[in-house]
């Protein structure tokens, strides 16, 4: 489907108003803050032009760009390739624990990077489970392999969910036709199922690429000084070497390189013809698959890979010198000596950390989702290069810079909590938009047009026809909007002035206070709460699909 569709007959005022709203919001919360940060610095630096040139032609810059891009390509590629069989199984077969696996796979994604690091080293590290099981001293993670392991651990579920959603929207009659025409099951996969899900693969690859492109903590811990990224360089210039001019050059390079990546991928992938038909597939039992043994063994390996680090971290939280103990959890709630108490160190008691995290993520997630959905509808009608670039821009800037700029422009005028919500919107918007956009553009316009020609208003056509057909994809987008807000550390930490305490902030502060065991216990509580939340979100979406299916069958 061609995404660009000319507006019918002349000027469409409503479309222009909607576009203006999207442009206004993104401009205000993104362009203005970043402009404020760099303009102030550049204005006072007479040698700016020379610095730009010197930075651009330095061989070190080329090396950093090359490594930043290549680690992101490898991480995204491996995440997507590994996710293909899992997503295929989840969307085509039913098996015990399918829904639970699907829901919980999102958990690594909501972990702050410092917890991802802890999880990965507790399993793969030198003192990790693997080395202890085999009695070895393998150095598995302190090299580029470690970066990739952590990135795949972190982003795997994103790929699984986007691919599974893509496949679940493919008409299973296409498979039947292929079989009728003589294809073996392997041929059906290679010639029908796989090509049809390519746009989703493109989306997943792009999103994970961008995540890894901006990776900071993970890259430093596992890559050391040998493997440094543009994000590290920008941060270093901005905060430690206090050279904002050079920092702005690196930030600009980040913007250019990531925009190029997005444009290239748009050209290559999103122009692919889409055959999506929103017919809900009937899943077959896994035992009916020819590839069942491959899928089962593969699934177990994935469980070990993804679940292993979380299980070992949990075990460590329950550990003590004398074996199993709930001591680390009890001390989270106990009053202690002086400033040692959790409330003093983290800034809030555990109950308030839970309510703050959930309510903030609920609000930020909803705002992000609403903005992304609105933008996706606008772009479905009218897609221009400028709009495309603007909705992509939040992906291509570092959130630290945005947060500092927001503080500079808005602090004192807008309450901190609103700033945090806005910054989290910038953070989540591109991802939520991509998922919503992929979902919506797979839906032929003819459905809504048919409803409208039968007398439905535009809103009614969207509400009664479009939304029910794409509810799974949209709930997936909503889940990620919430997840990104839950996992956010930078926006809360930079804009909250220390008064807004969410799980990532509390965990970070506990570790900073050397309260390492307590931090692990709090991490386990966080994982537990996230699991419940996302299981609930997915259950709701599952019910919706069943109901939506009933409707479709009625109409068929």
């Amino acid at each position: 489907m061609r995404a660009l569709r000319p507006a019918r007959g002349g000027v469409d005022l409503r479309a222009i108003a909607a576009i203006a709203a999207v442009v206004g919001v993104l401009g205000a919360i993104l362009v203005l803050p970043i402009g404020a940060v760099f303009f102030g610095a550049i204005r006072s630096d007479s040698a700016y032009g020379a610095k730009v040139l010197a930075t651009l032609i330095a061989p070190a810059t080329r090396r950093v760009v090359a490594f930043t891009v290549s680690q992101a390509v490898v991480s995204a590629g491996i995440s997507v390739v590994l996710a293909v069989p899992v997503a295929y199984a989840v969307s085509h077969y039913h098996f015990p624990g399918r829904r639970l696996f699907y829901s919980l796979s999102i958990v690594p994604f909501v972990l702050p990077s410092i917890v991802v690091v802890i999880c990965v080293i507790s399993f793969y590290g030198r003192a990790g489970l693997i080395n202890r099981l085999f009695g070895t001293d393998w150095n598995l993670v302190y090299n580029p392999v470690g970066i990739v392991i952590a990135h795949v651990f972190f982003n795997f579920s994103l790929a699984v969910r986007i691919l599974a959603d893509g496949w679940s929207r493919i008409d299973s009659r296409l498979y039947d036709s292929a079989r009728t025409l003589g294809s073996r099951s392997r041929g059906v996969f290679a010639r029908v199922a796989f090509p049809l899900v390519l746009p989703s693969i493109g989306t997943a690859f792009l999103l994970i690429f961008i995540y890894c492109f901006f990776s900071f903590g993970v890259v430093l811990v596992f890559g050391g000084i040998r493997y440094t990224t543009l994000e590290v360089e920008t941060y270093s210039r901005m905060f430690v070497r206090l050279d904002v001019s050079t920092a702005s050059v690196y930030a600009l390079l980040q913007l250019i390189v990531s925009l190029c990546a997005v444009v290239v991928m748009n050209r290559v992938v999103f122009r692919t013809e889409r055959h999506g038909r929103s017919v809900v597939r009937r899943r077959r039992p896994l035992s009916a698959s020819n590839a069942r043994w491959f899928l089962i063994v593969y699934g177990v390996l994935v469980l070990v890979f993804l679940g292993g680090p979380i299980v070992t971290m949990t075990a460590r939280a329950f550990g003590s010198p004398d074996g199993f103990s709930t001591r680390n959890f009890r001390v989270l709630f106990q009053p202690g000596p002086r400033d040692w108490e959790t409330e003093s160190v983290a800034g809030a008691p555990v109950a308030r950390i839970i309510t703050t995290s959930l309510s903030l993520a609920g609000v930020s997630g909803t705002v992000t989702f609403a903005l992304a959905l609105m933008t996706a509808f606008v772009l479905k009608r009218r897609r221009t290069a400028v709009l495309e670039a603007l909705v992509t821009a939040p992906m291509c800037v570092s959130i630290v810079t945005v947060a500092i700029g927001m503080r500079l422009v808005f602090a004192g005028i807008v309450p901190d909590i609103v700033l945090v919500v806005l910054a989290q919107t910038v953070l989540g918007f591109p991802f939520v938009f991509r998922i919503a956009d992929t979902t919506l553009s797979a839906l032929p316009d003819s459905y809504a047009d048919a409803a409208r020609s039968l007398g439905a208003s535009r809103i009614a056509a969207v509400r009664d026809v479009v939304i029910p057909l794409v509810s799974r994809g949209l709930l997936n987008a909503y889940a990620y909007a919430v997840a990104i807000a839950l996992a956010d550390f930078t926006a809360v930490f930079t804009l909250g002035r220390g008064n807004i305490v969410t799980f990532p902030v509390a965990i970070y502060r506990l570790i900073g206070f050397r309260g390492f065991d307590r931090a692990l216990a709090l991490g386990v509580i966080y994982i537990g709460i996230c699991s419940v939340v996302f299981f609930w979100v997915d259950r709701t979406s599952g019910r919706d699909i069943d109901r939506g299916k009933g409707n479709l069958v009625d109409h068929a």
Binding site: G40, R126, G347, G512
Partner: protein, 355 residues
């Protein structure tokens, strides 16, 4: 169907938000903080105090400051915590023409030459300066005053490493392959100071040779102290770059002397934390009172067990956890102007070796 019912609501909410942000932003331009010539006369308000510090500034110290101002002067303290020292400096820098803060607590030597150059603080010599250890006075003009300090050095885990190296030379021994968690000098103050320590010890022409020999013994380089110390406590490596005061925490709160400082030739690099009165502060009088108070004995006595750093006054008695290990007799610190002039070069040479 959640989505279906809320769709119209979401749409309206999004638009309302857009209008709200636009409104806020157009007002924002009027009071743009980078507008030229926005001079505010000093000391016109006396009933409030805005303090900027970093996130990890401990609660007991924050409470002491707020209580003191409320009880002594009836002043409400607005204490704002920025993410870390880098963010703290950047906020001051970006607001320099129309500052919101009156006093800044928690800068360190990394930032001082820029603070002086930009005139971010104004000189103020508190009465309590006479009680402060003279070696710690970082600025004769008192544009900043020290309020705590620690020594940057290696720490080691005696359970994993019963026989630690006894000298810089022995540290490069192959017995200690992949045993050290280093902190990146480009992103972390302790990491930067450890690099400066090796420059001070081996000299401008010798430190590269040392790092070339040390490199195989470095397991990894982390971005910040928190990540690095986390790896160390998890048992990934038995040595880490940290403070000579870090072991005191484990003695005080965990009742273990397993984690110990590793000091060669009685030398550590002094990391001194400073405070200062912000240039063009609205409440300069209260800012001066704050400087006076953080150097008072009452406040300095809270430093060891809350901040896990040494107090700057010699008349404060140290808790037992701080006297468990001998202190470095001859701490080193390089002159700020020498560091400012050479750091980029040292860092580039260090990176060339380590990558």
């Amino acid at each position: 169907m959640i989505i279906r019912h809320n769709f119209r609501f979401c749409l309206l909410f999004g638009i309302a938000l857009g209008l709200f942000v636009l409104g806020a932003c157009s007002r924002g331009e009027d009071t743009d903080v980078v507008s030229e010539g926005a001079q505010s006369p000093a000391s016109i308000e006396t009933d409030s105090l805005v303090v900027y510090t970093y996130d990890a500034f401990p609660r007991a110290l924050r409470d002491a400051l707020t209580t003191h101002f409320a009880e002594e002067f009836g002043v409400t303290v607005d204490l704002q915590r920025l993410a870390d020292t880098g963010a703290l400096f950047n906020q001051l820098y970006l607001e320099r023409e129309n500052p919101r803060a009156d006093v800044v607590i928690g800068l360190d030597a990394t930032y001082l030459s820029r603070v002086y150059e930009l005139g971010l603080t104004v000189p103020y010599r508190p009465d309590a300066a006479d009680e402060v250890n003279a070696d710690l006075i970082v600025d004769d003009q008192f544009r900043v005053v020290p309020f705590d300090y620690g020594g940057i050095t290696l720490n080691y885990d005696s359970a994993a490493l019963p026989d630690p190296p006894g000298s810089w030379d022995e540290l490069t021994d192959e017995r200690f392959r992949s045993s050290i968690v280093m902190l990146n000098p480009a992103t972390s103050s302790p990491g930067r100071n450890f690099l400066l320590l090796t420059v001070a010890v081996f000299g401008d022409d010798g430190f590269e040779q040392f790092w070339r020999q040390l490199r195989p013994n470095v397991l990894t380089v982390t971005g910040g102290w928190t990540d690095g110390y986390g790896l160390y406590v998890q048992g990934e490596a038995p040595m880490v770059v940290s403070y000579d005061t870090s072991p005191a925490y484990h003695i005080e709160y965990e009742d273990t002397d397993r984690y110990r400082p590793l000091i060669f030739d009685d030398e550590v690099y002094l990391q001194i934390e400073v405070a200062g009165v912000v240039n063009r502060a609205r409440n300069e009088l209260n800012a001066r009172r704050a400087i006076e108070f953080i150097l008072s004995r009452e406040f300095q006595e809270l430093i060891p067990l809350n901040q896990f750093m040494f107090p700057v006054r010699d008349d404060v008695e140290l808790p037992a956890a701080f006297t468990a290990y001998p202190r470095a007799a001859s701490p080193v610190v390089l002159p700020p102007d020498v560091v400012a002039e050479n750091f980029e070069d040292w860092l580039a040479r260090w990176e060339a070796i380590m990558r």
